[in-house]
């Protein structure tokens, strides 16, 4: 085995004009911290959250200016604008008309932060500062009765928020086993 390997390496070296070619060409360039600074992805445990904070009352202002046009004054959603309801719907998930909102459905508060930071508001995606995202997340969670009106959200407190439907999900990977013994 080692003889064969040695023999192959010798052959490659003999054929290649430069030794570097024996290992194949270098592809790609190293990534610097600066390269990575413009990206983020927040984990449910808070990994990736930036250092900043925001209050419910600050969030009310951000919401009114940047969110209410599409999601409604009462976070009830504006179907014509395409903005879904953000609160309400608890207890509806097993009913014929489930209302899936941040309050009733979303399992992690980190997801709210991540999504608002990356893609909201729809007309100016990615334009909110970390402070504004903490604040508006606090506002939405507060209006949904998930946190108190005097709460402050930051990298420590946000991942500790227990969402009402946190236990409402399970891993659905793999085949639908029940299909294999369904009555026919």
């Amino acid at each position: 085995m080692s003889t064969l390997k040695f023999g192959l390496a010798a052959l490659v070296l003999a054929l290649a004009p430069a030794a570097a070619f024996a290992e194949g060409p270098e592809v790609g360039a190293p990534v610097s911290d600066q390269d990575l600074a413009r990206y983020f992805a927040i984990q449910p445990d808070g990994e990736g959250l930036p250092p900043a904070s925001g209050t419910v009352s600050a969030g009310a202002k951000v919401y009114g200016e940047r969110c209410a046009a599409c999601h409604g004054d009462k976070l009830q959603g504006v179907p014509a604008a395409g903005g879904p309801a953000l609160v309400g719907g608890r207890g509806t998930l097993a009913s014929p008309k489930p209302l899936k909102t941040v309050e009733s459905y979303w399992p992690y508060a980190s997801t709210l932060y991540d999504y608002v930071w990356r893609a909201m508001p729809f007309d100016q995606p990615g334009s909110l500062s970390p402070e504004e995202v903490y604040a508006v997340s606090a506002y939405v969670l507060s209006k949904g009765g998930v946190i108190g009106e005097d709460a402050t959200m930051d990298a420590k407190s946000l991942p500790k928020v227990e969402m009402p439907n946190a236990k409402g999900f399970y891993d659905g990977r793999g085949p639908d086993l029940s299909l294999y013994h369904a009555e026919r």
């Binding site: 990534v31 395409g82 014929p96 997801t111 999900f169 659905g172 990977r173 639908d176 369904a182």
Partner: protein
């Protein structure tokens, strides 16, 4: 040009048009056996002659359909020269007589919406790139490939960024795969809703994709032992993100830059998209700019609040990523009209996210009896096949169905089975057997049988 939308696709005039008039249903039709050959030739000649004149006059005043250029039609193309070479600038267009287009769903904004592939008109197994279905969450970005990079970082040995040129220098693979939106056919859970097969099943398209396997990239950066999930991120306004199990990426995940012999179309992720054969379409991140390797999923908005399947008990399934075996008859299908009793070639498409299509069966009596269909192309993993099956229609009401079995032994379920297992609120992954009713007058409609 008239464009059909999901809500106005049903054209009552078309349904009532005289049987001998030109209609799309005549494709694949065989003439009634009793009709004499001479009689047939005569009637065909007179119909063609009359309609050619009328069509010629009308078309002259018309603009060309999307993807085509209008040219005057000569009286006799053998009596004058045609167009010179490269008059098209070097990139050809389709014939001005081909009018099929994608249709869009009705949503409050066309920036986050979807379009359907015209499946009934598709010829062959590959979807023309310009007719590939779309689902965008923040419009279609315009990306200069010279400025685009793919960063691979996280739980890797050496984080690296790759230019599009870098990726094109690496070993590549070329494979045919379908992509299906997990929301395909979602209108059909409770009652038959969409009026055409384009809208019931058109969030499905098949292409030949070319790109670099993720496993090749993984060797360039090295993976740490704890690596289990990879976040894929797009460079659109939605900055779309999904967490992908690393075993899937390492088995056949591809960073694609080619589609059907040329670069990806902008709507399909130009210059780079992720391709995850058999996985729900949303995970095939377009405009791919970043892969972050991790030991756990990120629980992004798409994989928690959107692409999860709500079960009858109010709990929801995460990461239902594989698309189930599915098939649909494209001819005859809803909104078509069979001109008269006779022998027709039933045609359709079958696919599975779990592997190759093993077999397809067709029923004309709402699933009471089944006949094997002919598979028209070699079955490839996570790729569509086209099927066909002759059917003698006696002029009585009939219900047509097709049923796909894949190489894992998974059999496409009936709607009743699927609803019993998942209830009516799960939205995604509807892969039940589709029923088309053929009425005694030849009209075809979408039904639940």
């Amino acid at each position: 040009m008239k464009r059909r939308g999901p809500d106005d696709a049903y054209d009552p005039e078309a349904a009532m048009r005289p049987l001998d008039e030109e209609c799309p249903c005549q494709e694949g039709m065989r003439p009634q056996a009793k009709l004499g050959r001479r009689q047939l030739l005569l009637s065909a000649a007179s119909t063609l002659g009359a309609s050619a004149l009328a069509v010629g006059a009308a078309r002259a005043a018309e603009a060309a359909p999307p993807g085509a250029v209008h040219y005057d039609v000569p009286e006799d193309p053998t009596k004058e020269q045609g167009r010179p070479l490269l008059a098209d600038g070097g990139y050809g267009t389709r014939s001005q007589f081909e009018t099929e287009v994608r249709v869009k769903a009705k949503n409050p904004t066309d920036l986050t919406s979807w379009t359907f592939t015209p499946l009934a008109a598709q010829i062959g197994n590959l979807t023309p790139s310009g007719l590939h279905f779309e689902r965008h969450h923040g419009g279609i970005p315009t990306i200069d490939p010279a400025r685009h990079e793919l960063i691979v970082h996280g739980m890797v040995g050496t984080a690296k960024k790759f230019s599009v040129a870098d990726l094109k220098r690496m070993p590549s693979v070329t494979r045919k795969h379908f992509i299906e939106c997990s929301g395909n056919t979602l209108t059909e859970w409770a009652k038959p809703t969409a009026k055409t097969v384009q809208v019931t099943h058109g969030l499905l398209s098949t292409s030949e994709w070319t790109g670099v396997l993720f496993s090749t990239l993984a060797r360039e950066v090295g993976l740490k032992d704890a690596a289990l999930w990879v976040l894929a991120e797009g460079a659109d306004a939605a900055v779309m993100t999904r967490s992908i199990p690393i075993e899937k990426l390492l088995s056949d995940g591809m960073i694609a830059y080619g589609q059907n012999g040329e670069a990806l179309r902008p709507e399909q992720g130009y210059p780079l998209r992720l391709l995850l054969p058999g996985y729900e379409g949303n995970t095939h991140i377009k405009w791919l700019r970043r892969l972050q390797v991790s030991d756990r999923p990120f629980m992004t908005r798409e994989e928690t609040s959107k692409y999860t399947d709500l079960m009858p008990d109010g709990r929801a399934k995460l990461f239902t990523l594989q698309m189930g075996a599915k098939s649909v008859i494209t001819f005859p299908s809803a909104d078509m009209m069979l001109p008269k009793p006779g022998v027709y070639e039933i045609k359709g498409i079958a696919w599975s996210g779990r592997g190759r299509v093993q077999s397809v069966e067709v029923s004309s009596d709402a699933g009471k009896t089944w006949r094997p269909a002919n598979i028209e192309n070699a079955a490839e993993p996570m790729c569509t096949v086209r099927f066909s099956c002759p059917w003698a229609w006696d002029g009585q009401a009939a219900t047509l169905q097709s049923r796909c079995t894949d190489e894992t032994g998974y059999v496409q379920p009936t709607r009743e089975e699927l609803v019993r297992l998942r209830g009516l609120n799960s939205v995604y992954h509807y892969n039940a057997i589709q029923s088309w009713a053929v009425a005694a007058d030849g009209g075809v409609s979408n039904v639940h049988a």
